[in-house]
């Protein structure tokens, strides 16, 4: 399975250099951009979250202080009612005064107060402000505020919000209050007895304070609960009691002041807790995690748009860069491909220095290949022509005609021995000429061939010249291209000694020099001028006036085709003094292996030939 996907992925790999560069650049730049974008967003999100939490804490501190001030003022009212009104008065004879002073206290604080009432320990109403008729049977002693005050006499007690069930003011209204109750000493007729002072705070004051901070539209809210988690104020109070929604107030009530992380009803949220002093109430700020991102939708869109625009820009830049980098390479590649396809355009040279240099190199290489190819074709053609020429020389009809005519003439003249000699020489000549189709033969065979040829020519020219062979026997075991001496000898006869009367001399010498085998043909003929000497080896179009038609150029070419350009013929001539034509070839021992290697031509056997020359030199040294 994995292999299959890997192969599919491999298929997706861009093939062109431009696509590769662009894909790589795009992937890298977009990855960097994404990472930077995400990191920036996270940083921004965290910053925004910290800011929200900080501002929530500040707001809660402020709200908490306001609430504490409010509660302190209620306690002060309670203290004032107790210490300034109740403690200093006797209910039996100062009821009017008490009522008046309570009225003053109430009037001064009525914005936040619902009522002030004094009950004795039996739950009978002693005084109340504002004056209203008490309900028929409110059963005060069983009401929570009364019970708590009596249970813990030393403290003031703040109740949770409840409906005031004490007075009937005839308005058909029910008031939602928070009761502050405390046990008091009531003096009545000089006797002291316990009672309860009740200050009912208007719940709307607290709900107004809380409503003022509950204005956020992003899901963030604040609520107030007592130390047991009983909700005092919650923006969704009825929904909670109806079970439509819930609140984690029981847990929040256990928290100390601070910021907490919690998960409630599947939602992650931050909870900021502030304790209201004396009451033990908790002011709780709830910040759902979703509210941190509320209002950030547009920021998200903005960041996405910026990232997309950056991506667009990067794609453009990447394309420009990749095109700039790859275009010279592609152009070079295209020109090379065109070249390979058989067309011959100029190799592209342009772009940066490296590509330019590469272009130049490729162009030079192709030019060299071109020249070499031409040269090889030329050499092959020359070799074929030379071989053809050599073949032609082997069966020169004119030479054969002359030889046969000489033999006929000898037989008719009764010179049977001479005729036999001639026939045997002719047979040797042809045997070596053929040499089983080989190009390279031993020096011995070449000399034999030359001797046979000269013997026949001497008969033809009636011994008008002499021939001397001065070649050491040790040289006969070296390799030589076949039929190279015969054309030289033919030239020596035709242009040198052929026209001389009995004094013509031709000398064939052989020796080794600097590892090379030198075979020279010297005559004392008419010689040549310097210009003629130069043309002998260069002008292949010279018309042969006489002979087999195989010129020295041909011989020279054949030697160089097999042994290399440094070998060949060397002509020395002085007019009226004679000519010496030297064959210079490497001294390579004649073996079947060497012969086969040499017959491939020097281009294909250069290294082996160099080895053979080296071996030849060693052998020569050993002999010496």
């Amino acid at each position: 399975m994995g292999k299959k996907y890997f192969e599919r992925l491999k298929k997706l790999e861009p093939k062109q250099i431009q696509s590769t560069i662009m894909a790589a650049f795009t992937v890298i730049s977009i990855s960097i951009m994404l990472i930077v974008g995400i990191v920036l967003y996270i940083r921004f999100f965290n910053f925004s979250r910290d800011e929200t939490i900080q501002s929530t804490r500040k707001l809660m501190e402020q709200a908490g202080e306001n609430m504490e001030d409010y509660l302190v003022s209620m306690r002060q009212i309670s203290d004032a009612a107790y210490y300034n009104v109740i403690k200093e008065s006797d209910f039996s004879n100062q009821e009017q005064d008490i009522q008046k002073r309570m009225n003053l206290l109430y009037e001064a604080n009525k914005d936040n107060l619902r009522s002030i009432a004094i009950y004795n320990n039996y739950g009978s109403l002693m005084a109340a402000e504002p004056i209203a008729s008490q309900k028929e049977d409110p059963d005060v002693t069983r009401q929570d505020w009364f019970v708590r005050a009596m249970d813990e006499m030393e403290n003031m007690h703040f109740s949770t919000p409840h409906i005031q069930n004490l007075f009937d003011d005839g308005t058909f209204r029910y008031y939602w209050v928070i009761s502050l109750s405390r046990v008091i000493d009531i003096t009545e007729g000089g006797d002291s007895r316990l009672g309860v002072l009740l200050v009912d705070m208007d719940y709307s004051s607290i709900s107004r304070m809380m409503n003022q901070i509950n204005t956020s539209q992003n899901g963030q809210y604040y609520y107030l609960c007592d130390s047991t988690g009983e909700i005092i104020y919650h923006p969704r109070q009825i929904q909670i009691s109806d079970g439509i929604s819930g609140e984690n107030s029981k847990v929040a009530a256990q928290y100390k002041e601070g910021v907490y992380d919690e998960r409630f009803e599947g939602e992650r949220r931050k909870v900021v807790v502030n304790t209201i002093s004396y009451t033990g109430w908790k002011l709780v700020g709830v910040i759902p995690y979703s509210s941190f991102t509320h209002g950030m939708i547009n920021i998200r869109y903005f960041i996405i748009i910026v990232m997309l625009l950056t991506a667009m820009m990067l794609v453009v830049i990447n394309r420009i860069v990749s095109v700039r980098i790859s275009t010279p390479i592609l152009k070079l590649n295209n020109s090379v491909m065109d070249y390979e396809a058989g067309e011959k355009p100029e190799i592209y040279i342009g772009g940066p220095q490296e590509i330019r240099h590469l272009g130049y190199s490729i162009q030079r290489s192709y030019e060299k290949i071109e020249v070499l190819m031409k040269k090889i074709v030329l050499e092959q053609n020359e070799r074929r022509r030379s071989e053809l020429d050599a073949l032609q020389s082997q069966i020169n009809p004119h030479f054969l005609y002359n030889a046969l005519e000489s033999i006929t003439w000898m037989i008719e003249g009764g010179r049977n021995d001479d005729a036999t000699f001639m026939i045997s020489q002719l047979a040797k000549l042809f045997r070596i000429s053929l040499s089983k189709g080989r190009t390279v033969i031993s020096v011995r065979d070449e000399l034999q061939h030359a001797q046979s040829y000269m013997n026949m020519q001497k008969v033809r020219y009636k011994n008008s010249f002499s021939v001397e062979f001065d070649v050491d026997e040790s040289l006969e075991q070296y390799c030589i291209v076949k039929l190279v001496l015969q054309p030289i000898l033919e030239n020596a006869i035709n242009y040198g000694v052929g026209s001389m009367d009995d004094c013509g001399e031709i000398k064939v010498a052989g020796f080794l020099r600097d590892g090379n085998l030198i075979l020279s043909v010297s005559d004392n003929g008419i010689g040549m001028s310097e210009e003629e000497v130069r043309l002998v080896l260069t002008d292949s179009n010279r018309i042969h006036k006489q002979g087999s038609g195989v010129g020295l150029v041909n011989v020279n070419n054949r030697i160089q085709l097999l042994f290399g350009k440094e070998y060949g013929l060397f002509v020395e001539s002085e007019p009226d003094e004679g000519t010496t034509v030297s064959i210079c070839i490497p001294a390579i021992p004649f073996t079947e292996k060497n012969r086969k290697i040499l017959e491939q031509g020097y281009r294909f056997s250069r290294e082996e030939m160099e080895e053979m020359i080296a071996v030849g030199d060693v052998e020569e040294d050993e002999k010496q």
């Binding site: 062109q16 431009q18 696509s19 662009m22 309900k135 028929e136 409840h162 409906i163 069930n165 009937d168 058909f172 209204r173 029910y174 008031y175 939602w176 539209q217 923006p235 969704r236 109070q237 009825i238 929904q239 009691s241 109806d242 439509i244 939708i297 547009n298 869109y301 903005f302 996405i304 748009i305 997309l308 625009l309 991506a311 667009m312 794609v315 453009v316 394309r319 592609l330």
Partner: protein, 323 residues
Amino acid sequence: MKNSKKTFILIETVLAVMVLLFALLMLLEKNGQALEKVSVIVQDSDDGQWAAFKYGLRMAAADQNLEVAVISTGGILTAAEEEGLIESEINNGADAVIVQPSVDSDAEAMLVRIQNNIPVMLVGCTASCDAEKSTIPTTEPDHYAMGRTLAEELLDDYSGKLEGKSIGIVSETESSASAILRESGFRDRLEGTGAQISWKVADTFEEGSAVLENQPKTDFVIALDDSSLVAAGACSAANNLHGAVLYGIGNSTEAIYYLDTGIAECLVVPDDFNVGYQSLTEVAKSLRHLFHKMEGKTVSYTVIRRDELFTKENQEILFTMSQ
């Protein structure tokens, strides 16, 4: 090379389209801050019986982030007046309406017409007297069950011995679906108990409670709605109910007051907070979810006696009525 160029153009086009899309979303987000507006049309909307209902609407509006407007109506509306008000609200940009239907017979047809244009939610009772034939979603308490419960409470108080006892029934109207169901629920439960329905009055009591005072003396007066209960309570407080014991269905602080002061013996209180809350929540869903089919809701009711008026649960009911 050509492929590379094509890919480049394709990538740039896709990115450009995405940029435009997000820019559009951003603009829509900026412009989309106008809240949906829901208009609420109920009979005599300033009456105290709607306090809990309005509080429920307010809470739901805060939860659902909607703008809600309760249209001030002085008294009982006819179907034509109601249609005029709804049309006017639609022209003023209302996206949906919550309506307490008029008792007129053509109210259902009128509201069905309106429903073709904007979502309509009924509250209180169905527009058609035959509740089962009504096609418009309605959020209401189970009227039949409330009537039946009232009878149960009466029977409980007298240990089921109502033989020879006379009963007077008061309601605001006798043609509304709610009144019919409540009465039939009450009558059905009393059937066979020997109690006698002596009289039945249907009146809006805008002219006072004289119509009640003129009724013959009965042992019990049963008020089937808040207005009737308040009128009967006032009449009883003035000792003009000939000593009849008052039972009823009510949802105002006046009704609670009469129970608190012992004028009413027992009160069945429909959960009007939830009528407001649930109806608006359902409307909000229908406005925000294209394929949401608005459904009617049945809310609960509570039986309150004087001695348990100030329990924690009942204080919360009072709290919603006092807002």
